[in-house]
Symmetry: C2
Subunit: 371 residues, 2 copies
């Protein structure tokens, strides 16, 4: 079959799905989690580290890579895979999310978004076409359509206008993506549309119908995990379940805490990303499994390794055979205490590994009928 | 044989020696370089990394480890080897160098040195006996006697007084070391004396005779590489060559640049340490071999990876099979440009590897008669 989702099993007790997503750089078992290599590296880690951890896909940010190292370097390298020496699949965002979060430094028009670089203030225009161009130079396996991530403070009219524009941008994204795929750095790339509409269920559904009409290889649910109550996000995801095409992958963008991931999966989500495991790691917050029942939200705990009670804790960071099974909580506590970079690295390995293991447990639970 | 130096070959064209230093944690090929794990980690790297690089010994700092994590944690772990999960040899300094560099925060008496912690200002007294106690809890394989690293601004009288005191401290160090070795965390530890005397050749020789009289497992040349001309340091090392026992290892402390290491080896030095490879790495300065003739000081070059000319340089960081052979100068340039920690780590791997390869080349050159 061509690139896309093959569903192996559907849960009988929830909307969870277990499958395989075929991409131009290999298969990924679904549901999966994407570690974030914002600027071409998962913070503190290398591509070799990600392979050792068993990550099957990485997410990178178009906005950051567009500014540095820039499109010329990416073109010379033949894309991000070679630049990072990572030959598994890569998903890139459209750049929209970062550009919109620049707030006062950007201006939205029908054409696209004018913005000033956070690095040097230089002016740029990002359009659906330009976002496709950049992602196609990056050679991304999963390209995201250019959308507006609507802020929570939009009134009804602004929200409707924004979502309508996102539909038009989605059309332009698809047209440009298809026109140029032959000359891109990844002729097997897929294009995903992004559903918006804040917490307005009716608008979300209408938007999903519009995107479906255009037709995409996958559908992302954007604009959630931005401060709304978790229950609201769950409601939207559940409402979209019967609307989105059952045979296409669904990607919940920018979420979530471990127990939230389980809930999104139960509502039909196949793909997730999140900065929490790596960002929290750098602040000394580690995740650890407590028990195996994923249906109970207390299946994990968080550890603040900077707490002095860990100074002499000789428990290993992992019970596996990997590098983490060599070092102890006490050693990691010390590394944080004296601000050794190795500490941030080991903590990041612990947390990314936790998220990847969580996805393994989720897949096994769907297979066994427990989720 | 018991722990100590076995000389395999003496150069016929210089005072260089090729041998094996047997320690309680394994053999080390001499001459060797010791990467510095100041606070229990070579900055940005792990013990597993050091094994992969082929490092045979690490150096750690008594002063830093005494303050954090402290002797209680070290005692609970049974020493630094287990704490770091590093089971090769470890050399620890005496703490003297760091304490003396606190300048206004310390006071020297016959008993030892009173100092205020650079972390919290707490008052401590470091004596020869206390230094031995700490190093014996750390379980160091090579324990350094407590000495005063004389500053360059001492006048003749102060210098003589200091060196005389260092002799008395050396005696006290040895006595305490031997009394407690049975109850220490390393019953196979060796004790090295440290030669001082600034650039006063006669005083250096007299001090070396005094240390020899006391009798140590090895002899360090301290108090050089502190700002004096390189030629002065070479002169002192050469002058000590016929004085120091030929069958004991000699350790040049705190040096040096790659071409300087070659010169010290030619003057009979077996062991070296230096912060340059790791510190420079974090500032984006990389070492690279240019040709194989170590007798010419231009056998290597330095690269400033932050220079924009490397932005698109697809040369690999290494031609070997290791992880470094995956990434390019252009990628490393980018990582520095966007301040990703991975950049500091990769650069440190490059430089430590360079220093270790330099020592391999030195050993081969002694064996082949070229050095």
């Amino acid at each position: 079959m061509s690139n896309g989702l093959e569903i192996i099993k559907k849960s009988e007790i929830s909307s969870a799905r277990r499958g395989v997503l075929k991409t131009a750089h290999g298969d990924i078992q679904t549901p999966f989690f994407m570690p974030i290599a914002t600027k071409g590296a998962v913070k503190t880690l290398s591509s070799a580290d990600m392979e050792k951890l068993g990550a099957e896909i990485l997410l990178s940010n178009t906005y950051h890579l567009y500014l540095k190292p820039g499109v010329d370097v990416m073109r010379a390298y033949g894309g991000l895979h070679k630049f990072m020496d990572w030959y598994g699949p890569i998903l890139t965002d459209s750049g929209g999310y970062q550009v919109f979060s620049l707030s006062e430094r950007r201006k939205i028009t029908e054409e696209g978004v004018e913005f000033a670089s956070h690095i040097d203030g230089s002016k740029h225009l990002l359009t659906p076409e330009k976002s496709m161009d950049i992602q196609q130079v990056l050679g991304s396996d999963i390209v995201m359509a250019f959308d507006e991530c609507t802020p929570p403070d939009y009134d009804e009219k602004a929200l409707n206008n924004s979502v309508d524009r996102t539909v038009r941008w989605a059309e332009r994204s698809k047209k440009h993506f298809e026109q140029n795929i032959g000359s891109s750095n990844n002729s097997g790339a897929m294009l995903f549309g992004i559903n918006q509409g804040a917490t307005d269920e009716a608008l979300r559904i209408k938007h999903a119908e519009d995107l479906k009409q255009i037709g995409f290889d996958g559908y992302a649910i954007g604009g959630l995990s931005v401060g709304e109550p978790f229950e609201e996000a769950c409601k939207i995801v559940a409402a979209l379940h019967p609307v989105l095409p059952a045979d296409k992958p669904r990607y919940f963008m920018g979420g979530a805490k471990p127990h939230e991931i389980v809930e999104y999966v139960k509502r039909g989500v196949d793909m997730m990303d999140c900065v929490l495991p790596s960002r929290n790691a750098r602040h000394g917050l580690l995740y650890r499994f407590v028990h195996d029942d994923l249906n109970r939200p207390d299946f994990y705990e968080t550890i603040h390794i900077t707490n002095s009670k860990y100074a002499n804790d000789q428990t290993k960071l992992s019970s596996d055979d990997g590098e983490l099974s060599r070092y102890t909580f006490g050693y990691l506590h010390h590394l944080f205490d004296v601000q050794e970079m190795l500490g941030y690295r080991l903590a990041t390995l612990v947390n990314i590994k936790f998220y990847l293991q969580l996805m393994e447990k989720i897949r096994a639970a769907i297979e066994s009928g427990a989720l």
